[in-house]
């Protein structure tokens, strides 16, 4: 039996022996725990540890192979989200479940009224939402379309959606992944108010400091199993990290680079606004040899456009690119490759790899027409295979053979493959867009180590990341992007997390354009 965290508190939720398998993968292996009234329990684990799967079972999105879920003493029928809602369980998914072209009000009341009621009680609904917003610090315009809201506001709508249904148990899946530091603080204040009112909360995260800051009790998941249950008051980051990984974690050593001359330069880039992507406004950025420039910012503030322009996938409305002091015409992905720019794309599956092609085909995909891999227009698969094997060996990619489809690789191994392809031939300029997103701690430190090595060889690196800790650890210089504008660059350690967070939220920008020289 797990030690009960506080005597006398009645459990509102009890999971007992939950097991689920997907093919050969045991995603959840005999997991049991219970949740008390007014308690915040954190579910901590790496990507793939089974946190989200467990919550999807609890919420009826998946059906467990064995095990039961009990809420308020009643067993929930498996695979029935309506029953979970009925029992007072609400979930804020990591990927929001909001309909973009509907208003906030419509999203909140969806499914709360009898489907065949002849009309809607919009006034009463609006009143209730206003009351909930005021009570819990969840300000939002009820008549705005979801598509016009920021990510933080959308999350508030998700929480309101649950509260509107009078949930007693609220599950939040990686809620801070999309928030600025100050938004995270506001969320934490809201959560504290909710537990004061007697709600119980399950908070899913892989960030150690957050889990320590918000929860009463921490459940650590590793490889689908419950690796341990700890009282937040009596533990620390090192202990949690060790439990999470199952091993002592080796800290990567972050050194400073010694910058050389400017090799790549974006000059006064301006783009048009498109739905879901803010326009870049007069953005200038220099990348120097032997230096990592970190671009911090909340997702969706123009990073995707900036990255596409550097890769040559998009042409800016105004402004241009200079490489080693020469202005570049006719910029395209092929030209970028020709200039030896190494690219680690944001989305491994969408842009980085072709999931259904094999490893050999994927690693030569940037250079398949070069004399190295093709002769007289015919592919030299032997050379391709040798290259794939070289990467697999040098980058420690775990795979049975280079002939398997890329889809079968884990995220970490796929990223190592991309890293190997991008760093082949020592590129002078490297664009690393979210290079560690979704990777486990081991793979993260491997990627970091390789990037630092590349920098020390003299590469100019642009690191785009939503993880402020990563940007702060790796970058010699930090630039913040907010609503398509760039902040002045700051040196390593020059600005605090709070100051960077203010910039990420869009405060403290000069009005006239933005220049990071």
């Amino acid at each position: 039996m797990e030690p009960r965290h506080s005597a006398g508190a009645e459990p509102v939720l009890r999971l007992d022996g939950i097991t689920i398998t997907f093919g050969d993968l045991v995603a959840n292996d005999d997991i049991s725990f219970d949740l008390s009234k007014g308690e915040i329990v954190a579910l901590l684990g790496e990507n793939g540890a089974g946190k989200t799967t467990l919550m999807n079972i609890l919420f009826g999105h998946y059906v467990a192979d064995t095990g039961t879920v009990e809420a308020f003493g009643t067993r929930l029928p498996p695979g029935d989200p309506a029953a979970a809602l009925q029992a007072g369980i609400g979930m804020v998914h990591q990927h929001f479940t909001l309909a973009d072209q509907l208003t906030v009000l419509e999203n909140i009341i969806l499914g709360t009224e009898s489907l065949f009621a002849p009309g809607q009680q919009r006034r009463a609904a609006r009143e209730k939402i206003r009351r909930l917003s005021a009570d819990f610090g969840l300000e939002v315009d009820t008549d705005a379309l979801i598509s016009d809201l920021s990510v933080g506001e959308r999350q508030r709508v998700e929480i309101l959606k649950a509260l509107y249904r009078d949930v007693r148990i609220l599950i939040l899946d990686e809620p801070t992944a999309v928030l600025t530091p100050s938004e995270t603080e506001a969320l934490f204040r809201t959560l504290k108010k909710l537990v004061e009112k007697g709600l119980s909360i399950i908070f899913i995260s892989h960030k150690l400091y957050e889990v320590l800051a918000i929860s009463d009790r921490i459940l650590v998941l590793r490889g689908g199993r419950l690796a341990g249950t700890l009282q937040s008051a009596g533990t620390n980051r090192a202990e949690l990290a060790a439990l999470m990984v199952g091993d002592k974690v080796e800290e990567t050593e972050f050194t400073s680079g010694s910058p050389g001359g400017t090799v790549f330069c974006l000059k006064n880039i301006t783009t048009l606004h498109r739905p879901g992507r803010p326009a870049l406004q007069d953005v200038s950025l220099d990348l120097r040899a032997g230096e990592i420039t970190g671009l911090a910012g909340v997702s969706g503030n123009g990073q995707a456009t900036l990255s596409a322009i550097i890769e040559g996938r998009e042409t800016p409305q105004q402004g241009g690119i200079e490489i080693e002091g020469m202005s570049v015409r006719q910029w395209s992905p092929r030209a970028a490759l020709g200039r030896n720019i190494g690219r680690i794309p944001e989305d491994r599956h969408a842009i980085g790899m072709i999931d259904d092609m094999n490893i050999v085909e994927n690693v030569i995909s940037e250079a398949y027409a070069s004399p190295r891999f093709a002769r007289y227009g015919i592919l030299d698969m032997k050379a391709g295979r040798a290259f794939a094997e070289e990467i697999i060996r040098d980058y420690d990619v775990k795979c049975p053979s280079p002939d398997i489809r890329a889809r079968l690789l884990s995220g970490g191994n796929m990223q190592k493959l991309i890293l190997g392809r991008a760093l082949d031939g020592d590129p002078g300029i490297i664009l690393a867009n979210q290079p560690t997103r979704g990777l486990d701690i081991g793979a993260v430190s491997y990627v970091h180590k390789r990037l630092i090595e590349a920098r020390d060889r003299g590469a100019a690196i642009l690191l785009i990341s939503e993880d402020l800790d990563e940007v702060r650890a790796l970058s010699d210089r930090i630039v913040v992007i907010s609503k398509g504008r760039l902040s002045e660059p700051s040196g390593r350690g020059e600005l605090s997390v709070r100051e960077l967070g203010e910039l990420m939220a869009g405060h403290g920008f000069a009005d006239e354009g933005s220049h990071a020289a």
Binding site: N56, H61, P81, A82, A99, D100, Q101, G119
Partner: protein, 313 residues
């Protein structure tokens, strides 16, 4: 200017509204399907089924309204078939829709031959008669057009108001719109995506079939092959033209019908200088132009044509 004077004649507007009526029904039907995230290219065939089912019911001795009901029922059945293939089975909506059109059309012709093996010329029925609304129908030009039509035309306008009210003012309409935007939002709120989509496709298909029945029971008085003649495809375009909104789609249907009524009259005015085929093309050319202008900025239902599989992300 004779070409301009056409626009001032009552008969032109009467014809425009009459031509618009079947398009209005079918466009509303397609709009409901697409709002729920299901493209229904079965529309052309479902209209054919409706045209036949309605007409045959009356021919066999049933009342006119029973005929309308029979058409709606037959349409809903084909809608359920389309829904079953595309929603729980998640098959390609394009391919399934074209299949439904081919199946429904040929089944109709086959049934026609089975039921009426001996006839050479299409038998006639007593169709809906125009019903003049006292007073209102006296208004010059628009009076006869809007208030001296058959009951089915009035029903078409009522349908638009009803569809708009259901979509924007009732919980079930909200759920339909949401399921076409983001099915996982609907699932997360405890509503069945499958039921919402199947229901919407069945209801929409019933309306399409009533649109077809208008042709055999109100515009004409008999059923003949090829009589839908691409009207279903026009309705697909009208939904886009109307940006998936009932009111705008209604305007589009009337606009298209007005072009169509206009080109017939223009042929007479120009007196054979221009080949008549050019005039026949006119409404289609204009609708393509209108699409280019209007629809490029349209916000379509985000989940349109994307099958939803539970538990998949």
């Amino acid at each position: 200017m004779e070409a301009f004077e056409i626009l001032l004649t009552a008969s032109f507007w009467v014809a425009a509204i009459r031509i618009a009526s079947p398009l209005i029904f079918a466009t509303m039907g397609e709009l409901i399907c697409e709002r729920a995230g299901v493209l229904n290219l079965g529309i052309e065939g479902i209209m054919t089924v409706g045209a036949f089912a309605g007409w045959f019911t009356v021919y066999a001795g049933g009342g006119l309204w029973l005929g309308v009901f029979a058409a709606a029922f037959a349409g809903a059945m084909f809608g359920l078939l389309h829904g079953f293939l595309t929603v729980p089975l998640g098959l390609s909506q394009h391919v399934t829709g074209i299949g439904i059109t081919l199946l429904a059309t040929s089944m109709t012709y086959f049934t026609y031959r089975l039921l009426l093996p001996e006839v050479t010329s299409p038998p006639k029925i007593e169709p809906f008669e125009p019903f003049a609304i006292p007073g209102l129908s006296e208004i010059p030009i628009i009076g006869p057009a809007l208030f001296n039509q058959t009951p089915l035309t009035y029903l078409a306008f009522v349908t638009v108001a009803l569809v708009a009210w259901v979509l924007y003012r009732t919980p079930v309409g909200l759920a339909v719109r949401a399921v076409g935007e983001n099915p996982s939002a609907v699932e997360a709120q405890g509503i069945s995506v499958t039921a919402m989509r199947m229901g919407a496709v069945a209801a929409g298909s019933a309306l399409m079939a009533v649109g077809g029945a208008f042709l055999t029971m109100s515009a004409f008085n008999s059923f003949f092959f090829e009589m839908i003649n691409g009207r279903g495809w026009i309705c697909i375009a009208l939904v886009v033209f109307g940006s998936w909104r009932p009111g705008k789609a209604l305007l589009g249907a009337i606009l298209f019908a007005a072009f169509d009524a206009y080109q017939v009259r223009l042929q007479q005015v120009t007196g054979g200088i221009v080949p008549y085929q050019v005039f026949l093309m006119l409404p289609y050319v204009l609708s393509i132009l209108a699409l280019i202008v209007v629809a490029r900025r349209a916000t379509y239902p985000k989940a349109l044509m994307i099958p939803y599989q539970k538990g998949e992300r």
